[in-house]
């Protein structure tokens, strides 16, 4: 039993030196993790805690008085008709945008994983929306959808689809504004989904499709019977990211429509911002924001569980 003791002494002696200290995983691990932990706690954890505290209070931006009011803020929020519109819109926009994304991302996933001349350029174009900050790209869309300067109107006008004298007010009509917001949300979440699906497609062994081809299956049978089921788990992950990004977003609506016309495109994110920051009712803004939490939590649990249950190659 004396030998282990000797070993231990050696280790302790060595560990006094700093660069040997960093060789130990129990020291190096926390050191490497600390920046991330600080970031998570300071910028995500603390604000989240504050949101919960504010939601049960009567805090405003105008005064530093602070009183707990229990569930009263939630009650006010639920009775607010704009909140109901915003909740409905958030769900509708998310579902519509992700439906568009599923279809287009699958197509783009195939394009990204295919081998052809000039594919680097196509890949570059597909990924471009992803690299642009939402605020910037939303501004670009704002210009494209402007009733006077819109290139869409110019094209449609020259094709004589619409009358050039009365341009389409893309952001001024309820249904068109909804369509515009959905289009922007789909456009900006599409690249990530396409890249995830590309990774999924690449991970399916090519023999499976060849085997199916030899087994007598045509393109559509191979697609729906082999490729899609094998792609499903990773598609779940892609949609999950898309849902979270769309459900929580406020920048797109804020820049494009300011929630208008009327409140036709108001979503939880923008309404929370208008109420809590611009309207000054911190408590109510926090309460609106909190409504995203259980929905997203439920969606996350559901989809991750579903994804892990599915057969992966």
């Amino acid at each position: 039993m004396s030998e282990p003791a000797v070993h231990r002494t050696v280790i302790i002696d060595e560990s006094f030196r700093v660069h040997h200290l960093l060789d130990r995983e129990s020291v190096l691990g926390p050191v490497m993790l600390s920046p991330l932990l600080i970031y998570l706690v300071a910028l995500i954890g603390l604000p989240l805690v504050f949101v919960f505290i504010y939601a049960f209070s009567d805090a405003t931006t105008g005064s530093d008085s602070f009183g707990f009011v229990g569930l009263q803020t939630f009650q006010t929020t639920l009775e607010d008709p704009v909140f109901r519109i915003a909740l409905r819109n958030t769900v509708v926009f998310t579902v519509l945008a992700q439906l568009v994304v599923i279809v287009l991302a699958t197509v783009l996933g195939f394009v990204l994983s295919a081998d052809f001349r000039g594919k680097w350029f196509v890949r570059f174009l597909i990924l471009l929306p992803w690299t642009t900050p939402v605020a910037l790209s939303a501004l670009a869309w704002l210009w494209m959808l402007d009733s006077l300067f819109s290139p869409f109107n110019w094209i449609l006008g020259n094709l004589h689809v619409v009358d050039q004298g009365t341009p389409v007010a893309w952001l001024g009509q309820d249904s068109l504004a909804v369509g515009s917001v959905v289009a922007l949300q789909a456009w900006r979440t599409l690249p990530l989904a396409a890249v995830i699906l590309m990774a999924g497609l690449t991970s399916i062994p090519p023999e499976l499709n060849e085997q199916a081809e030899v087994d007598g299956a045509g393109f559509w049978r191979r697609f729906f019977d082999i490729t899609m089921p094998l792609l499903a788990p990773i598609m779940m992950v892609a949609i999950l990211f898309g849902i979270v990004a769309t459900f929580t977003d406020m920048a797109a609506v804020y820049i494009l429509t300011r929630g208008g016309p009327g409140n036709a495109t108001q979503v939880l994110g923008s309404w929370s911002f208008y109420t809590g920051i611009q309207g000054g009712s911190l408590a109510q803004g926090a309460a609106i924001g909190i409504f995203m939490f259980p929905v997203l939590l439920g969606v996350c649990i559901l989809m991750l569980r579903r994804a892990s249950q599915t057969e992966v190659v």
Binding site: L208, E210, Q211, E213, V214, D215, G216, A217, L230, V313
Partner: protein, 341 residues
């Protein structure tokens, strides 16, 4: 069941040497033809062209006497078993086996009968409700074979189906494969780089190297009368010994060597003077490594003896190698092709 023929078939993937460089070959009705060669010799590409997964650059593929060059894989009435078995991981065994029938549009009841028949033939009835990941390597192979069989194809194409099995399982899987083919009697083209598999399974063996056909023949022909030095050294373990004398290469198998002390010249045998470098005991066999002086200089020769045979030589002793003339193959020194004595 049908005859498969490739005519002057060629495939290049752009740049460099073609993967398959003008091969003509026939697999007769019900025959077990093995394509044997080192990796990169073009054997898998050839198989994939027969399957229709790869379009030939030139030449033609005929199945049952008709050109199938323009047909997609599914119209060729072939079945293929991949090296990885390519079982559909999200489908149960029963769904895997019935997939080719579904693609044919067969009714559910007929499908079930066929699946039961194929599963019975391969002894996997009890596995039908499992998923592929719950199966062992050998069971996966049987499922893949059942899926290939169920459609009653004209031709089986097998791409190294044993290479994913561990060595212990491989011998019994080989037996099963052979018995299975004899039972169903379908023309089979089998790709492998393992010469033991090729010798054991093939009615005939086609040896390929660098995209070209080196020799086609029965295992006996390939082993005892190789067409060139490539076949001579690729088939057999340890390979055929090659010594240079009188401007020719003299080839003889390690087991055809007899060692003697002071052997004189013989009429019916060829004698080389050698020196024993090392004797290796491998349990059932003994390998004797010798150095022999030939026109080339010093050349190493391996001799193989059954352990039961007494060996009177040990390391660092002179020994004469005696090889009966009928066991000798002659090759041209420059081309490596078979030559007259």
């Amino acid at each position: 069941m049908a005859e498969v023929e490739v005519r002057e078939i060629r495939k290049s993937f752009g740049g460099g040497n073609p993967a398959v460089d003008g091969i003509s070959l026939t697999c007769k009705n019900g025959e077990y033809l093995v394509l044997l060669g080192p990796s990169g010799c073009g054997k898998t590409t050839l198989l994939r062209m027969i399957a229709g997964l790869e379009a030939p650059t030139g030449g033609d593929v005929l199945i049952g006497g008709k050109s199938v060059r323009a047909l997609p894989p599914r119209a060729r009435k072939i079945a293929m078993v991949f090296q990885s078995y390519a079982l559909y991981p999200h489908k149960k065994v029963v769904q895997n086996i019935s997939f080719p029938l579904e693609a044919q549009g067969m009714s559910a009841q007929e499908r079930m009968e066929k699946v039961k028949w194929a599963a019975g033939l391969l002894g996997i009835d009890h596995l039908l409700q499992r998923k592929p990941r719950q199966l062992s390597g050998g069971e996966r192979q049987r499922v893949a074979l059942a899926r290939a069989l169920v459609r009653e194809p004209q031709v089986f194409l097998l791409d190294e189906p044993l290479s994913n099995l561990d060595a212990k399982l491989r011998a019994s899987a080989r037996l099963e494969l052979k018995q299975f083919q004899q039972r169903v009697g379908v023309s089979t083209i089998y790709v492998t780089h393992d010469q033991v598999e090729a010798m054991g399974l093939g009615d005939r063996i086609a040896v390929l190297n660098q995209g070209r056909l080196q020799q086609v023949g029965t295992p006996e022909e390939i082993y005892h009368h190789p067409a060139n030095t490539f076949v001579a050294t690729f088939v057999g373990s340890p390979p055929m010994n090659l010594l240079e004398r009188d401007g020719k290469l003299i080839g003889f198998r390690p087991e055809n060597i007899r060692l003697e002390k002071n052997a004189g010249s013989r009429d019916d045998a060829t004698v080389f003077r050698g020196h024993v470098l090392r004797v290796e005991n491998l349990g059932s066999d003994r390998y004797v490594y010798l150095r022999v002086k030939d026109a080339h200089g010093d050349t190493n020769v391996i001799a193989k003896f059954a352990i039961a045979e007494p060996l009177e030589f040990s390391n660092d002793e002179d020994a004469d190698l005696v090889i009966r003339n009928r066991n000798i193959n002659f090759f041209d020194r420059d081309s490596g092709q078979k030559a007259a004595a």
